[in-house]
């Protein structure tokens, strides 16, 4: 089966190979093996007990088990890793499981080459609970130690903590991993092989994973394309691609002048309420672009940015505000963050949502000033450059600002309103006769701007923290003063050391994994910072996120790696993976599919609050898992997700005017052919394993699904295909992108 597939692929490729020949030779050199080696924790020679050094000396493996006490610092040893520049302690995490099944994380203080042997590293660990989740310390006795690195888990070894013995059992199949038995050639990779000239990117698991991260879902066609041109070339193409797709321009919806009851009496003009006073036009446009658009990466990054710089139809009721807002966002998706900050600050949609549009010196409004600091740029606590929180001598996080800072920023942001030609120097080219100008940047009513002195954020290396008062100023002077103050304030924020790690971590969480290592955050933040003045800074940031070794690789084994697919992604991934069309099966869906994400707590463009659908710091109850999307994953929405699978896979969205003129369905013809060719369903499951789960389906999962699929008559190939796709799509194994 797989050889058949590659034959046909090869044929396909050879047809077009002359076109891409030059590209291929470049990318074949540029696309390295994405897989990192799997770390191995060393044990003693005759047991799975960790090889440990505690006082600068390694224990003799022949002595009795040595007992280590709480808060002690020990060295354990890891091999089969391949460090890149800057990869140190913050690239590793060490977890232990105690006899009660509780997991603790111990801080990794240092990782350095050991004196044991080349390619063996010493990992200095403090035996102190780092997460403070459990009220009690680990139980006394043997515990199992795991080390993770770049989304990969080591074997687990035993450690005697406060005592020895106890009920904990070794992992099934685990064996001693003494230095002598671990025959590792450093840099050896899993899954690598000779690179064919014709196949530029052969790591099939990583291709699908990459598309899960950088698009709204893999498709067989995109997979083929990536295989041909590689990740880097694909990224370069995406960065330059026009947006949105030619076939799917932004809707053009004028703002209505007053309120829904006045403007849309009896819903006249036709669909007045739906088109003007709901997010319907934005949603259907958005989903069409997600399902069919070529510029997938910009669409995906814009969607992520929209979940950071949140505005919501819940408050900003008219779709026209949102359309203009999204245009600003997407235009800046691969641009410079500071430019984005300016554009967002003066965007009338944002102004309307967070009240800056009506904030005046006599009636100042703190809403935007607070969120531009807390949610959009720097967060509440001082961060290290790897995104970890800085603490004071008592271990308390150090705040980035206080209410006084908010009050000062509030003053800076007073006086702007929807663009009016009456305002000084305001041209408002897109002003409409009826209602406020929802397109042009807000203009300044000079009389409403606060003229007193302001003190901005303070931080190490701050310059230009003070804005002087404007005394005796003319309107023209106030105009200059206000815009200078605004820019100074935005510079003051942008130059805060938090911005790089803060933004980097959020984008990693949206695209790749919920709880990235500090090393990963640090690598991306360094790119952010190195490109501060680059007009295409965010291209470099997005590239760094997607090509990072912690993002890449065929299969990730760290138990905490990955992210729960947000409902929008879950829906579009199912649709895209299975050739979504209109009901006729020949045209395109009308994009009216928001009913599915909406039912699972993610009503697109209608976030409940400025805090987005789910908070970036959400911890799964009963665990210490940092997993934002679990904020909207409950018993109710879990079943809702299963029902989403049922509706999309066993059902379809029928044509129903006016909202669904074309309808939406998936097409399983290719799966039916596979089901028909192999009535054991082996090929069907293998195919879905590659296509939906990038090869991560366990044998047990496969056999469980096969058993159910084979209760459907073999002649009912559609029934078999549906059952198989449903069971994969509704499984937790698929709901989690990892």
């Amino acid at each position: 089966m797989s050889s058949l597939k590659s034959h046909s692929l090869l044929r396909l490729i050879s047809i077009s190979v002359f076109i891409f020949l030059s590209l291929i030779s470049i990318s074949a050199q540029e696309d390295p093996d994405p897989n990192s080696p799997t770390p191995i924790l060393l044990s003693e020679s005759d047991s799975t007990r960790a090889l440990v050094a505690s006082t600068g000396k390694r224990n003799s493996s022949r002595s009795a088990a040595r007992i280590y006490s709480a808060n002690q610092r020990i060295e354990i040893f890891v091999t089969n890793i391949d460090l890149i520049d800057g990869e140190g302690a913050n690239a590793f995490r060490v977890y232990i499981e105690d006899a009660k099944g509780r997991e603790y994380r111990f801080p990794v203080l240092d990782v350095r080459p050991s004196d044991l042997q080349k390619d063996v590293y010493s990992v200095v660990v403090e035996l102190a609970d780092d997460l403070h989740y459990w009220a009690e310390p680990p139980t006394t006795g043997d515990v199992l130690v795991r080390l993770t690195w770049r989304g990969l888990s080591s074997n687990r070894v035993r450690l005697a903590l406060g005592g020895t013995g106890g009920v904990i059992k070794d992992d099934q199949g685990s064996a001693p991993t003494p230095l002598s038995a671990v025959n590792v050639a450093n840099g050896s990779r899993t899954g690598s092989g000779p690179t064919s000239e014709l196949v530029s990117y052969r790591w099939s698991g990583d291709r699908i994973r990459f598309l899960e991260q950088g698009t709204f879902g893999p498709t067989p066609a995109l997979d083929t394309r990536i295989r041909r041109i590689g990740l880097r070339t694909w990224l370069a193409e995406q960065f330059e691609m026009p947006y949105p797709s030619v076939l799917n321009p932004y809707p053009n919806i004028p703002l209505m002048p007053t309120t829904v009851t006045t403007d849309c009496q009896n819903n006249i003009p036709v669909n007045c309420v739906r088109d003007h006073y709901s997010m319907y036009p934005v949603q259907t446009w958005f989903y069409k672009e997600a399902l069919y658009g070529e510029p997938q990466l910009r669409h995906r990054v814009s969607w992520s940015l929209g979940q950071i710089w949140v505005i919501s139809g819940v408050d900003t009721q008219q779709s026209s505000w949102m359309i203009e807002y999204h245009q600003q966002l997407s235009r800046n998706a691969f641009g410079n963050w500071r430019t984005l900050m300016y554009d967002m600050t003066l965007n009338p949609g944002m102004g309307n949502y967070l009240d800056m549009i009506r904030s005046t010196r006599n009636n100042p409004n703190e809403n935007y000033p607070r969120e531009v600091l807390q949610l959009f740029n720097i967060g509440l606590f001082m961060l290290n450059q790897d995104g970890t929180v800085q603490t004071d001598g008592l271990g308390n996080p150090i705040p980035t600002y206080d209410q006084t800072t908010i009050n000062n920023f509030t003053k800076v942001f007073t006086g702007w309103r929807d663009c009016r030609v009456a305002d000084l120097n305001a041209s408002c080219p897109d002003a409409t006769p009826n209602g406020p100008d929802y397109k042009d940047p807000m203009s300044l009513a000079t009389g409403n701007h606060d003229l007193t002195a302001k003190t901005l954020l303070n931080y190490p290396g701050v310059t230009n923290q003070n804005v002087a008062a404007c005394t005796g100023c003319t309107a023209a002077q106030i105009y200059t003063y206000a815009y200078n103050s605004l820019n100074q304030a935005l510079d003051n924020i942008y130059n805060h050391p938090n911005v790089g790690p803060f933004v980097s971590k959020l984008l990693i969480q949206h695209l790749v994994t919920s709880d990235p290592t500090p090393a990963y955050v640090g690598r991306v933040a360094a790119v952010f910072n190195a490109n501060r003045t680059n007009p295409t800074q965010m291209k470099e940031v997005v590239r760094a996120i997607l090509l990072d070794p912690e993002a890449r690789g065929d299969i990730k084994t760290d138990p905490r790696y990955g992210k729960l697919r947000e409902p929008v992604q879950l829906t579009t991934n199912i649709y895209r993976n299975f050739n979504v069309t209109d009901i006729a099966g020949t045209g395109r869906s009308d994009g009216d599919i928001n009913r599915f994400p909406s039912g699972q707590g993610q009503n697109a463009f209608n976030a409940p609050t400025v805090f987005n659908y789910y908070p970036p710091n959400f911890i799964v109850p009963g665990t210490t898992l940092l997993a934002p999307e679990f904020g909207i994953y409950t018993t109710g929405t879990a079943i809702g997700r299963a029902n989403l699978g049922n509706s999309t896979i066993f059902g379809q969205i029928n044509v129903a005017l006016p909202n669904t003129p074309s309808g939406t369905k998936i097409n399983l013809g290719d799966l039916q052919a596979i089901a028909a060719a192999d009535t054991t369903s082996n090929q069907l499951l293998d195919h879905l394993n590659t296509r939906m789960m990038h090869g991560a389906m366990s044998p047990q999962m496969k056999s469980t699904i096969m058993t159910a699929v084979n209760t459907v008559a073999s002649t009912d190939t559609l029934g078999r295909a549906r059952a198989a796709v449903y069971l994969v799509a509704t499984s937790s194994q698929f709901q989690v992108q990892r």
Binding site: K100, L380, I619, L625, G636, S647, T711, Q733, V736
Partner: protein
């Protein structure tokens, strides 16, 4: 039909023996931890009666200054004129004639006023104002997040630690729900009560002790507690957690069996295990929800009305569920009224929805014969600045601090103000900009009252009534020891 579905769900093996605890063990390897808890709790008596707490969260931060208002002219304390002068120019002051009067024993019998939206409105019922006269509603005053009691001087000189990130939505919500203000917590105080009380009070574990009708919330999360989260009464209980698309045919049942079995494998990924665990809980609860009885009282057809109606349905099943204690969470959003506060979708409309829904729920509990066994209480992010922002129709308020909260049910002591006295010797703050109770200072002071009663004191009073032993108070509220009074007295002592 419904019976059929229940039957085959049971036959498929997905519900058998799958109590919340069992699934937790399987997914998180907590077997021994639970076993330990069991032995710790054995000495506790199992209560035979029923009690429930219903948390109503006013998301966005309800403006308490327009919810409970001085309605008297006593010149020695803040009176109606104080209020009027601070808010009338901008168009935010409620006319005195519109206030719904309540006589307050603790204030020497002086009259205060409730927002007019809390009276009859929407045609469903007479609202909660009427419950004051009936002795079924208490007001807890000047409540807010605190690490320890704090004067204005201490606030200014920093000698007492402040709650982290005052006036920030997400942080203040997490402190209200988390039950402590010194550090961020992974768990909420409802969840921690449930951690401790699930074994004695919910021995069957058919559904979790906590149910949220508003998704996953910090309040509902414990270390071993995951809430049940279900849709509001727009969906029948039998359908809120029902997987769609199955029938009684063999292939369909085989598919259902596989759907269920898949959650028992590949648990080495903790994220996968966490997702499977939640689905397991849903499937288990679905089986017991297949039959339910409709409530008697008429509920308003609003979001909050339907949330409370769903709570009432679950409570009506309490005997079936063999549960003695339950905690519920519902939420009404939209209170972040930086503008348009007086509009139909601003505070004015929201309080109507709130008052109507709370009253329907109270009436339903009386019908169910447990009016004194079920207590509704409000929480919110914070109150809002006494000084308005904007004017006219657009008038609103910004983020502030201490607030007033309602406690409704037959279990309260008496209709009165409760809470720790402010600087003026009463539990009602001095409504003066830059005054002794204002955290703001200087000419730009906007009226953000410094709380005298902490969230923990408010919550602990409720938790005690619920049956949390005194010995467990500090486990649930780690900073309660910073406060002398852990019982504000608004709840009747446990029987």
């Amino acid at each position: 039909m419904k019976q059929d579905r229940r039957q085959f769900l049971i036959r498929s093996g997905c519900t058998l023996g799958m109590t919340a605890l069992a699934t937790q063990m399987r997914h998180f390897g907590l077997m021994s931890a639970i076993a330990q808890n069991v032995s710790d709790e054995k000495q506790d008596a199992v209560p035979s009666d029923y009690r429930a707490l219903v948390c109503i969260f006013l998301s966005g931060g309800n403006d308490g200054n327009n919810t409970v208002i001085p309605n008297h002219n006593d010149a020695t304390i803040s009176n109606y004129t104080t209020y009027f002068n601070a808010r009338n120019t901008q168009g935010l002051a409620i006319p005195q004639a519109s206030l719904l009067p309540i006589a307050v024993p603790r204030m020497g019998g002086l009259t205060y006023g409730l927002h007019p939206s809390l009276g009859p409105g929407g045609g469903t019922n007479n609202g909660i104002h009427e419950l004051w006269a009936l002795g079924k509603m208490a007001v807890v005053t000047n409540v807010g997040t605190l690490v320890a009691p704090m004067t204005k001087a201490q606030y200014q000189n920093g000698s007492v630690p402040k709650p982290f990130q005052l006036f920030s939505h997400s942080d203040q919500v997490s402190q209200y729900q988390g039950g402590r203000s010194d550090i961020e917590t992974y768990t909420g105080w409802g969840g921690r009560i449930s951690d401790l009380r699930t074994l004695p009070d919910n021995p069957s574990g058919l559904i979790p002790m906590i149910t949220s009708i508003s998704g996953a919330q910090l309040f509902t999360a414990g270390q071993t507690t995951l809430p049940l989260a279900i849709a509001n009464a727009g969906t029948g209980l039998n359908n809120v957690l029902s997987p769609a698309g199955y029938n009684a045919t063999a292939p369909s049942q085989a598919r259902l069996a596989a759907f269920n079995q898949l959650r028992g494998i590949d648990l080495s990924s903790q994220i996968v295990a966490a997702a499977s665990h939640v689905t397991d809980q849903a499937i288990a609860a679905n089986a017991v929800f297949q039959t339910f009885q409709e409530v008697t009282a008429t509920f308003p057809n609003t979001n909050i009305g339907n949330q409370l109606k769903q709570v009432a349905r679950v409570i009506k099943k309490r005997t079936d569920l063999s549960v003695n204690r339950q905690v519920f969470f519902v939420q009404l959003g939209g209170f972040d009224t930086h503008n348009n506060q007086t509009a139909a979708n601003g505070q004015t409309g929201l309080l109507t929805q709130l008052g109507q829904a709370m009253r329907s729920f109270y009436d339903e509990m009386v019908v169910q014969g447990i009016g004194d066994k079920v207590t509704q209480f409000t929480m919110a992010d914070f109150s809002r600045t006494f000084n308005p922002t904007g004017t006219g129709a657009a008038v609103g308020t910004d983020h502030a601090w201490a607030n007033y909260h309602f406690v409704v049910g037959g279990g309260i002591t008496a209709s009165d103000f409760y809470g720790i006295n402010t600087t003026n010797g009463t539990p009602f703050p001095t409504l003066t900009f830059n005054g002794p109770d204002d955290a703001d200072s200087g000419t730009g002071a906007r009226g953000r009252w410094i709380p005298t009663t902490s969230v923990e004191q408010y919550a602990a009073t409720l938790a005690r009534w619920y049956g949390l032993p005194d010995a467990n108070l500090a486990t649930v509220f780690p900073k309660i020891t910073n406060f002398a009074n852990t019982n504000l007295g608004f709840m009747q002592p446990p029987a």
